[in-house]
Symmetry: C2
């Protein structure tokens, strides 16, 4: 059989593992693909660092991706440019593409999909979300006969490691981040992870696939974990909850204000300690999917790392190779639904609001009155720390489901009241379809 020839862009942690597995499992991969799968070239910026790849190395990425002897381009460089230009060139030249580039897919997946369709080639990217966990193919294919209503989960291992460490030891955010950095779970500049951007990219990809529409990173409401304190973790624990950074993608039925729509958001949230996602610790990922007929499903595994991510890349690569051997292509993305994205302000969730107030009779009544005035119904309110000597007390309010905008307006007013020293924290409470959370 004529081999399927692969050009790889980038050769970092994931790329090295792809090369290793392509070599070590060559016979098995050939049997599964229907033809040998061979490396045709590897484009890197600093060829001298990869001497063992010999003649395969090149610094000329644009030349490599359009070379006549290349069938498939595997992209593991990440970032928007030059990845976008290179992949668009490759697709235009009739090469199938396998990429792990979540940022690019979330920003401009539509351009790539259009280019792949124009050439009739495959565009696969299982590795872009939740590493080794087979998630995109199940969404795109296994559940294609069902109606997905929600995808929610832990899709960033760095932040889950930090939050798990804070919960386990009572450590501060800063100390937990330092430990994550020391152990290699966080990068020197942790912003993409801790500010939620990485998870937001993944949420955009998940929402697009799950709801057959187009959602970009800019559509995703994004809050990171920098503001989560040891006190928040303790407050969650007191409510029988844990705090996780969640990506939540939902389909919302039509209502008076909007036709059927979708939403996608990333933020820390309290979830019940009994929920399966609460038990997902350390750098692991897990995603819940709810569909009308299938009910609740969960997918769990390693969300990052060289070998797990390479497993996902190779699964796509063998699938693409097999499609080329058979002369076809796999199922395309479909964005036929073209659903609008619901603004964050209209979403309804529950909230845990913690305030420092003046320790004086009537303050609790003033505070709860502001919630009522904004139409935010309270499930529970309690005041602690009275008589602690400094004249201040702590009020914690847990609401029923309320529109984000109403809650935000309430908090704005509260922050300006004379009797409020400060708003300690505002955390969303998500039961993810489970019962039993206070409130």
């Amino acid at each position: 059989m004529k081999p399927i020839r692969v050009a790889m862009l980038g050769c970092g942690t994931v790329g090295r593992e792809v090369v290793r597995l392509l070599r070590e499992q060559a016979d098995e991969l050939a049997a599964r693909a229907g033809a040998p799968v061979e490396l045709a070239g590897v484009a890197v910026r600093r060829p001298h660092k990869h001497a063992d790849l010999g003649d395969l190395l090149t610094a000329d990425a644009p030349g490599l991706v359009t070379r006549d002897d290349v069938d498939v381009v595997v992209e593991v460089i990440g970032g928007i440019e030059p990845a976008r230009t290179l992949l668009l060139e490759a697709l235009k030249a009739g090469k199938s593409v396998v990429t792990a580039n979540k940022a690019l897919l979330a920003e401009d997946g539509a351009s790539l999909a259009v280019a792949a369709d124009a050439s009739g080639v495959d565009l696969y990217y299982e590795a872009a979300v939740a590493g080794a966990i087979p998630l995109l193919r199940p969404l795109r294919e296994s559940l294609v006969g069902d109606r997905i209503t929600r995808v929610a989960g832990i899709v960033n291992g760095t932040t889950n490691f930090i939050l798990s460490a804070m919960a386990a030891s009572g450590a501060s955010y800063a100390d937990a981040l330092e430990e994550a950095t020391r152990l290699g779970y966080a990068e020197a500049d942790p912003s993409a992870d801790v500010d939620g951007y990485d998870a937001a990219s993944k949420a955009a990809i998940l929402a697009s696939l799950a709801f057959h529409t187009r959602v970009t990173a800019a559509d995703v409401h994004c809050e990171g974990i920098r503001a989560v304190t040891a006190g928040d973790i303790a407050a969650a624990s007191a409510m029988g909850c844990v705090i996780k950074l969640l990506a939540i993608c939902e389909r919302a039925p039509a209502d008076a204000s909007m036709p059927e729509s979708v939403s996608a958001r990333v933020h820390p949230a309290m979830i019940p300690a009994t929920h399966p996602l609460a038990a997902v610790d350390g750098a692991f990922n897990a995603v819940f999917v709810e569909a009308e007929a299938a009910g609740q499903l969960m997918f769990y595994g390693q969300g990052a790392g060289g070998a797990p991510t390479a497993s996902a890349v190779l699964g796509d690569l063998v699938a693409v190779a097999r499609n080329r051997v058979l002369g076809g292509r796999g199922p395309r993305e479909s964005a036929y639904a073209s659903l609008p994205v619901r603004p964050m302000g209209t979403l309804r969730t529950r909230y845990h609001v913690s305030l420092e107030v003046v320790d004086r009779a009537g303050v609790l009544s003033t505070i709860t009155g502001e919630f009522a005035r904004h139409g935010v119904s309270i499930a529970a309110a309690r005041q602690t720390g009275e008589g602690n000597g400094d004249g201040s007390a702590r009020i914690v309010v847990v609401t029923h489901k309320a529109p984000e905008a109403a809650l935000a307006a309430t908090v704005d007013v509260l922050a300006g009241l004379d009797v409020v020293h400060g708003v300690h924290s505002v955390l969303r409470v998500e039961d993810l379809g489970r019962k039993g959370v206070a409130g």
Copy 2:
């Protein structure tokens, strides 16, 4: 677009849901498949029971599956015959097949696969294992670039409901079975579930897909849960374990006695209470997959029921329809590896053995001596119930990993000893890659 026309065989719980979803989601399914997906006919034994299907109904299944206007045959009747003959006729006539028939696939999947290949059509069966959980497609496609080493899980909801009920309430097997029957989780004749045959069929299908080889139901060592007692559940609890009916498929490297091989078995086993599978209660299913590069993955969801199973059938149906619209077919099964199946006697696991013995000095030493004589290394042995007045005591032995045959020979000898009143139970202990089980 020319519609894709579907013949359905059987119209029970799953079939009714397939009909409902095909009708309610017709527009969405058409958008995803690239053409309308229409029912061409439904073959049932008693047409008068399904009057709402009108002209679609027929009692002539053989005529329906070869009709010129039929593109795809969906089979939800179950059992070996007439399903096998009908599906072979359909495949021979160039129809793609979607089936939920685990018994047929486990007994004679090879014949179906050969017939599908001969005609160049699809044979899909996601619904045959673990209901709505996307599991076969991830094994067949997402992990096709990886090397799966183990698939282990809870794949029968009825037995998991019974074992969960026994663990929660201390109920006997008989009482828990009665409750399961009353609630509709167990059939009037529960043998296929409680004797492990259903799980064994699924194990054969999982092992075949995971290891790219052919494993049939006859290759699967199968023990059910009828012999599990409330005492066993309590003994497991005392060890920090729970008892689950597991299907375990493993790849074994070559050793002195055999080349590389696979094994598949179904039996009750103690697993650590901290293992994610231990938390899978009631009628839910969950499957762990371990692969060399991907590491540990878990898939969780509803393993049975009309709507969840129909979700899996429809996912396959849309995929098959899309393949026909595009003029191709999906990835085939591959059985290129042709690995031998390892005999149960050569497998190595750990055991929890409970004996009633004569309450006399030296008995523990006699018992442990027999283990040693058979080369079975003991992790822990303890004696309880001395001085309980009836002259008997209980000895519990937990072994290190030992060959099944050596353990069986040990137990045979123990049962014949004068000092042994009886062998109370022999249970395997599986840590499934986790640490922390006693011994």
